[in-house]
């Protein structure tokens, strides 16, 4: 009993501590928000020193690197307007602090360029002051390089903060994969659906509209979800499709994948086109975390597209197995050598060994030609059979005559040597030989007629296009682009 009371007190204290910390964080963010809004107004009014001071206050409240950039931008604009060397130096200082705290900044190149240009401008202004040509640092106009940098705008900021931190952020759709983890600050454009998950907490879903000139905050205190379990699904092949419990509803996402899941027995499938499928069934208890690591084997794929006149009535097979019941046929097949067979009733089949390259689409435009008539073979068979029958009949007649004459010769009254049956039998025998020979030749010819490939063969035009995914970075977006070569 004593132990239970003590445990309850500890939990309560911990919850109070957590709540208090999250409240302090919210206050500092509110303070940063107020300073940012003031700084934004000062900046737009051209009061760059005040703007820089307010941005520094915001940074002091919440140390988002973007605030340092905005401080640098304020001094940058002051220096540009007044050719103030001190302002330029401060601008350079804060730009460098910004990069130091945000080394992976997407605008790193632009900021470094600005730092270089401002350093040169400082040197140029110092050199001008040293020569005694003016009354100080404010006399000279900005250099052409500074002019080319244009006016610097302060940046808005999206801040997503959760309590507790380290929650996974998804934008728009979980199938796109995790976007970031909290706390997160950065720039995004437009309106997005925000999905935030963390093991042991209820999923937070909301909508966020980003403004490039404003500090947008999304603060969420996530509620605990003690009765759920947590599953983490990984595959040796990235971006594999993940199915849970029912494949017919489609993939729930791509690996790596993690989410809360109701306790109980669940079946997981991990698959990817061209690879084997991995299946595992596990039983998860409430609050438990289970990992499913699937290893799938396979080979890279290429695509094959089979078209052509009359292809809708044609059957397409690959390596002896049916590929498409009817055309047109577009399928992914493993890379390597394959035998394509296109058949159509009454038409000559088209068969070809082709090599499918990975990440390439092989287009085959088939032109089937009608099967030629086999009437000549039928006629040859009939003629061969007739001559064969005649040969057998004549041979039987010849044998009969031979037997009769043999018997008569052995008798007391043999036939004369000029008996017409000798000649008749001879004619029968020769005719039988001739008939059988003709029959044999005709039948051989018939077989040849049957087997020969009369007329032109079915043909196809084969065209291969490579399909590749390459990383692309643009001022408007960054991601994967598809390139097609042929």
């Amino acid at each position: 009993m004593k132990t239970r009371v003590l445990f309850a007190i500890c939990v309560a204290v911990a919850m109070l501590a957590t709540t208090s910390a999250f409240g302090q964080s919210a206050d500092s963010l509110k303070k940063a928000q107020a300073s940012f809004d003031t700084a934004q107004s000062e900046y737009l009014a051209g009061k760059f020193d005040e703007a820089a001071a307010r941005f520094q206050e915001a940074y002091a409240a919440r140390p988002f690197p973007q605030f340092l950039y905005n401080v640098g931008a304020s001094f940058h604009m002051k220096g540009k307007r007044t050719s103030d060397v001190a302002a330029y130096r401060k601008a350079v200082e804060f730009y460098k602090r910004y990069l130091a705290e945000e080394p992976q900044a997407q605008d790193k190149a632009n900021v470094e360029k600005a730092i270089g240009v401002l350093d040169d401008e400082i040197k140029r202004l110092d050199a001008g002051a040293g020569s005694g040509s003016g009354s100080g640092a404010t006399a000279a106009a900005p250099s052409q390089e500074v002019q080319n940098l244009g006016d610097v705008k302060v940046r808005g900021l999206v801040v997503i903060v959760t309590e507790p931190q380290n929650a996974t952020i998804y934008l728009d759709d979980k199938k796109k994969g995790p976007f970031a983890t909290t706390p997160w600050s950065g720039s995004i454009d437009g309106e997005h659906k925000l999905i935030i998950e963390k093991r042991g907490y209820k999923v937070v879903e909301s909508t966020i509209s980003a403004d490039p000139t404003k500090l947008v905050q999304f603060v969420s205190s996530m509620a605990q979800e003690d009765y759920l379990a947590w599953v983490e699904i990984a595959s040796n092949i990235p971006k594999s499709d993940v199915f849970i419990d029912d494949k017919s509803i489609g993939a729930v996402g791509s690996s790596p994948w993690s989410q809360q899941i109701k306790p109980g027995k669940h079946t997981f499938w991990i698959s990817k086109e061209g690879y084997d499928e991995y299946t595992e069934t596990i039983d998860i208890a409430p609050g438990e975390t289970k990992a499913v690591k699937g290893t799938i084997k396979g080979s890279p794929l290429g695509k094959i597209a089979i078209t052509g006149y009359g292809i809708e009535d044609s059957q397409i097979a690959i390596d002896g197995k049916l590929l498409c019941e009817r055309g047109p046929c577009l399928r992914s097949v493993p890379q390597g050598d394959h035998v394509i067979l296109v058949t159509r009733e009454g038409w000559k089949p088209y068969e070809r060994r082709i090599t499918i390259e990975a990440k390439a689409e092989t287009q085959i435009k088939v032109t089937l030609v009608p099967k030629p008539s086999r009437s000549d073979a039928v006629v040859a068979y009939v003629v061969g059979a007739i001559f064969g029958g005649a040969g057998i009949y004549l041979g039987l007649q010849a044998n009969q005559l031979h037997d009769d004459l043999n018997k008569e010769i052995a008798s007391a009254h043999p036939p004369a040597s000029n008996d017409s049956r000798f000649l008749k039998g001879k004619i029968y025998a020769i005719a039988a030989d001739a008939s059988l020979a003709i029959s044999a030749i005709t039948l051989v010819t018939a077989v040849y007629y049957t087997l020969r490939d009369k007329g032109p063969p079915s043909t196809a035009l084969i065209d291969a296009k490579s399909v590749t995914l390459v990383p692309e970075i643009n001022t408007n977006y960054a991601g994967l682009g598809m390139e097609v070569h042929w």
Partner: protein, 397 residues
């Protein structure tokens, strides 16, 4: 099904050995020789004569008379039994006989003498001789009447005709270039002996025997042929003995059995006037011939020959009009044994062509000839001559 397959297989095997029919043809003991292509005559083999060759001679020879564009040819039988025509138009030499009827006769000594006797053209007998001691080459012997009977007699030719005309003659003998005309009579008619009408003539060592159309048999000394004079009748030296009438001519054979001598009279058949018959006459005592046995009826007989086969006498009779089963006019040849002074009334063997056509006229002429030194039977039919190298009466030659 198995039987059908077996038959088909055997038919194929048999069909592939068509040359077996040539082998079979060579195996048979009856050789048929068709009219050679070079023979222009329309009827090949109206009369045949076998050569009497020396015993040591291999093979054999046959002279063949053809009618129509009349000619003769010789047929050589090689030792293997293959018949080979020796020539088609060697026969008539410088002479031409426009037509030879079916009753033409031929004599052949096997050395070269050949005599053609045409009974359709009165007065025309053509003798073609290769034997200088008998007849002149290409000799034509004029006769006043139809020649009916012929025989060789001691190196001369004897031709019998039915006498007619002012200078009657019925027997002509030719030797070298000399031709003698004689009138032989029956010698029995008081005051006016009648000229005989020969149906057949034959000789023995001393006599010329004449079988008349009336059926009588008379004997004349051979010397009479050298002394006869036209207009002076010559009578027989034998008593008259009468056999079957032979109005359509006949065949006369003189045979010897031990110390006995016989004449076999064969009267040829003609539906209009007489029926064929056979009569044996004992002429052991030439002056008084005696009928031996009864007349044997032989309806339809149109040809005859006699020879001794393996020690037994055989009378060969040709019946060209006899049916063979349902085949009318197929023809047949009866072989009658002649032993002990008697002719077997029933044929000991009958030769026929198993696959003969109707009106084949098998047996329209018969003869015997020496083949490899042994006698064989040769039978003429319609444009075919058959050589029997074996019958039930003699072993294979």
């Amino acid at each position: 099904m198995k039987k059908l397959l077996f038959l088909a297989a055997t038919s194929l095997i048999g069909a592939c050995s068509w040359s077996q029919f040539d082998d079979l043809s060579d195996t048979t003991t009856v050789r048929g020789t068709e009219k050679p292509d070079g023979i222009k005559a329309t009827e090949y083999g109206v009369s045949i004569a076998g050569a009497t060759l020396p015993a040591e001679t291999s093979g054999g020879k046959i002279a063949i008379l053809s009618s129509g564009s009349g000619n003769y040819s010789t047929l050589a039988l090689d030792p293997g039994g293959i018949a080979q025509d020796l020539g088609a138009n060697e026969t008539l030499g410088a002479h031409t006989i426009d037509s030879v009827t079916a009753k033409g006769t031929v004599l052949f000594d096997g050395v070269g003498q050949v005599v053609l006797v045409d009974n359709s053209n009165v007065g025309t007998v053509v003798a073609v001789s290769g034997s200088p001691d008998a007849l002149s080459l290409d000799q034509q012997i004029p006769t006043p009447a139809t020649p009916d009977a012929t025989a060789f007699a001691n190196g001369q030719l004897v031709v019998g005709v039915t006498s007619s005309g002012a200078t009657a003659a019925n027997i002509f003998s030719a030797k070298g270039t000399a031709v003698r005309s004689c009138l032989f009579t029956d010698g029995t008619t008081s005051g006016a002996p009648a000229a005989v009408a020969p149906a057949a003539v034959a000789i023995d060592s001393s006599m010329l025997w004449v079988y008349t159309k009336a059926g009588d048999l008379f004997g004349y000394p051979l010397t009479a042929l050298d002394t006869c004079v036209v207009g002076t009748p010559t009578g027989p030296t034998t008593a008259k003995v009468s056999g079957p009438a032979a109005t359509n001519n006949g065949h006369l054979a003189i045979i010897t059995e031990g110390t006995s001598k016989y004449a076999i009279l064969t009267a040829y058949d003609t539906a209009a006037t007489s029926i064929g018959a056979i009569q044996l006459v004992n002429i052991t005592t030439a002056a008084t011939p005696v009928l031996a046995g009864s007349v044997i009826s032989a309806p339809g007989v149109r040809a005859a020959a006699y020879d001794t086969f393996d020690g037994s006498g055989v009378l060969v009779l040709g019946y060209p009009g006899r049916a063979n089963g349902s085949t009318s006019g197929a023809g047949a040849v009866d072989l009658h044994t002649v032993t002990g002074g008697a002719i077997a009334a029933t044929a000991s063997d009958t030769l026929q062509i198993p696959n003969g056509d109707s009106n084949h006229l098998f047996g329209r002429a018969v003869t015997t000839t020496r083949y490899n030194g042994q006698p064989i039977v040769v039978v003429a039919a319609d444009n075919v001559v058959y050589s029997f190298y074996q019958t039930s009466l003699y072993a294979k030659r």
